[in-house]
């Protein structure tokens, strides 16, 4: 008899949250990296004020993608380095439940970082990023990145140079998410009419749903040897 899906997912999420509250290994690294990234971009674009304003949405999403890559790698390393993933795989739990549990944990951590850097960027870039639709875009986009990132982090977990392999595998696959998220964000930040950016937000949501479904289907193959 299989352990019920929901119980397994909740067990994995609560285990990850409890471990993170104790160690702060993931959130601190992701948040510090994101903060430094924003600062570096800010200094690099300082001379060109117009370019800097136009680049805010790109800076936001590139920062989020890079910070999430760090987080996904570390989150799965915690499972792989001590063989804990094997212990989970030994249990009568469906593979998609293990994937979904890790996905929700990764999403939660990345979303916290995203919600921290929005006000930070508002201050540093002197542009209001605390807009309702922008938060919606962030919530949807981060979920898309977390889906594909969690699956690919599981796939690259036992490769020799997994820190390098995850970005190499994830960045090309994440391009449709990045493109739609940046377009929607730019439209919202420029106060463009909704008809101009809503389609990008809808596309972002559609790509996120497609990626989630694909990851769900592939998780069994990825988690098996």
């Amino acid at each position: 008899m299989k352990t019920r899906f929901r119980i397994a997912v909740l067990a994995i999420v609560s285990k990850d949250l409890r471990a993170e509250i104790r160690s702060r290994e993931l959130l601190s690294v992701m948040a510090i990296f994101a903060f430094l990234c924003i600062l570096v971009f800010s200094f690099a674009l300082e001379l060109e004020r117009v370019a800097r304003e136009e680049a805010i949405s790109g800076v936001l999403w590139v920062t989020l993608v890079f910070a999430s890559l760090l987080g996904f790698n570390r989150s799965l390393a915690q499972e792989g380095d001590q063989g804990n993933l094997d212990a989970m795989l030994l249990a009568p739990v469906s593979r998609p439940a293990i994937f979904f549990g890790k996905l929700l944990s990764n999403y939660f951590f990345t979303l916290i970082v995203a919600l921290v850097i929005l006000p930070l960027m508002t201050v540093i870039y002197n542009s209001n990023l605390l807009k309702g639709w922008l938060i919606v875009t962030t919530v949807v986009g981060v979920f898309g990145f977390s889906s594909i990132g969690t699956l690919l982090a599981m796939l690259t977990l036992h490769t020799r140079s997994r820190e390098a392999m995850l970005p190499i595998a994830m960045l090309p696959v994440a391009l449709p998410l990045l493109l739609t998220a940046v377009r929607a964000t730019t439209g919202i930040l420029n106060d463009s009419p909704a008809r101009e950016w809503l389609v990008w937000l809808q596309l972002l949501a559609a790509v996120t749903v497609i990626y989630l479904a694909l990851c769900w289907l592939l998780s069994g193959f990825v988690l098996e040897e």
């Binding site: 008899m1 019920r4 119980i7 104790r22 212990a87 795989l89 030994l90 009568p92």
Partner: protein
């Protein structure tokens, strides 16, 4: 399932990593309530065989049936019956001993009360009751191994696969583990124990499999053998296989 059918059946099992054959045409059966010592040199294929039996790895060719279920395609049906003690601790350092066991108890679908009762009893049994709420990362290798034993035994599996269980244990912890093995035998559970410690083999098991170069070089009764005789047999078998 027929009473005479072995609980574990391994037929013509081979496993290759890339071009490297790790197991070659392995055949054996294990009866219910039997204890088997899996002996062999480093790299002989013991861990690979245990991972295949646990459903963590797929055979390149051949078949494994546990209780009539085909592994790994029907592994979900037998996972609850298998407990694996790996040579990695399979524990979360940032969780306490109790939290580690509670997490795995949830994955095995144990109810809250059942988990609390079982975890308390197991921690007591492995001598970690006083450290139940300490983080596993602060445990010595021996304490981690004892907690791993509790984890593998948590859901009272019918089949226990123990990979080098005595490694890193002090005398007291090794005795605790021996006690657990004997208690599992009294409960008529099936055990496969991979070890290098030949001295313990005849006291814990009636039968040994010696794996050499990925093949079973010996499969026989060791109940009446002394440790010295088993050592001689082991050397002879491994050298013979190496020369062949």
């Amino acid at each position: 399932m027929d009473e005479k059918t072995p609980l574990i059946e391994v037929e013509d099992l081979s496993k290759t990593f890339g071009l490297l054959p790790v197991l070659r045409s392995v055949n054996f059966g294990v009866a219910r309530a039997e204890t088997i010592m899996l002996l062999g040199q480093n790299g002989g294929g013991k861990t690979t065989l245990l991972r295949l039996l646990a459903g963590l790895s797929k055979p390149t060719t051949g078949a494994i049936r546990i209780g009539g279920w085909q592994m790994p395609t029907e592994a979900m049906e037998v996972r609850r019956q298998i407990g694996l003690l790996s040579h990695q601790p399979l524990l979360y350092g940032n969780l306490s001993a109790r939290e580690n066991l509670d997490f795995f108890g949830k994955l095995y679908g144990m109810a809250k009360d059942e988990r609390a009762e079982r975890i308390g009893a197991l921690l007591d049994q492995v001598g970690l009751a006083k450290r139940a709420d300490s983080l596993a990362r602060g445990f010595s290798r021996g304490m981690q191994q004892r907690l791993s034993i509790a984890r593998a035994n948590l859901h009272q599996p019918e089949i226990l696969l123990l990979d080098e269980p005595f490694t890193g244990l002090d005398q007291a912890a090794a005795e605790t583990l021996e006690g657990l093995v004997l208690s599992a035998q009294r409960e008529e559970r099936t055990l496969i124990i991979a070890t290098h410690q030949l001295g313990r083999a005849p006291t814990l098991a009636g039968r040994a499999l010696i794996l050499s170069r990925g093949q079973i070089a010996f499969d026989g009764n060791i109940e009446t053998m002394s440790a010295a005789n088993l050592g001689e047999l082991y050397t002879r078998v491994c050298n013979g296989a190496a020369m062949a």
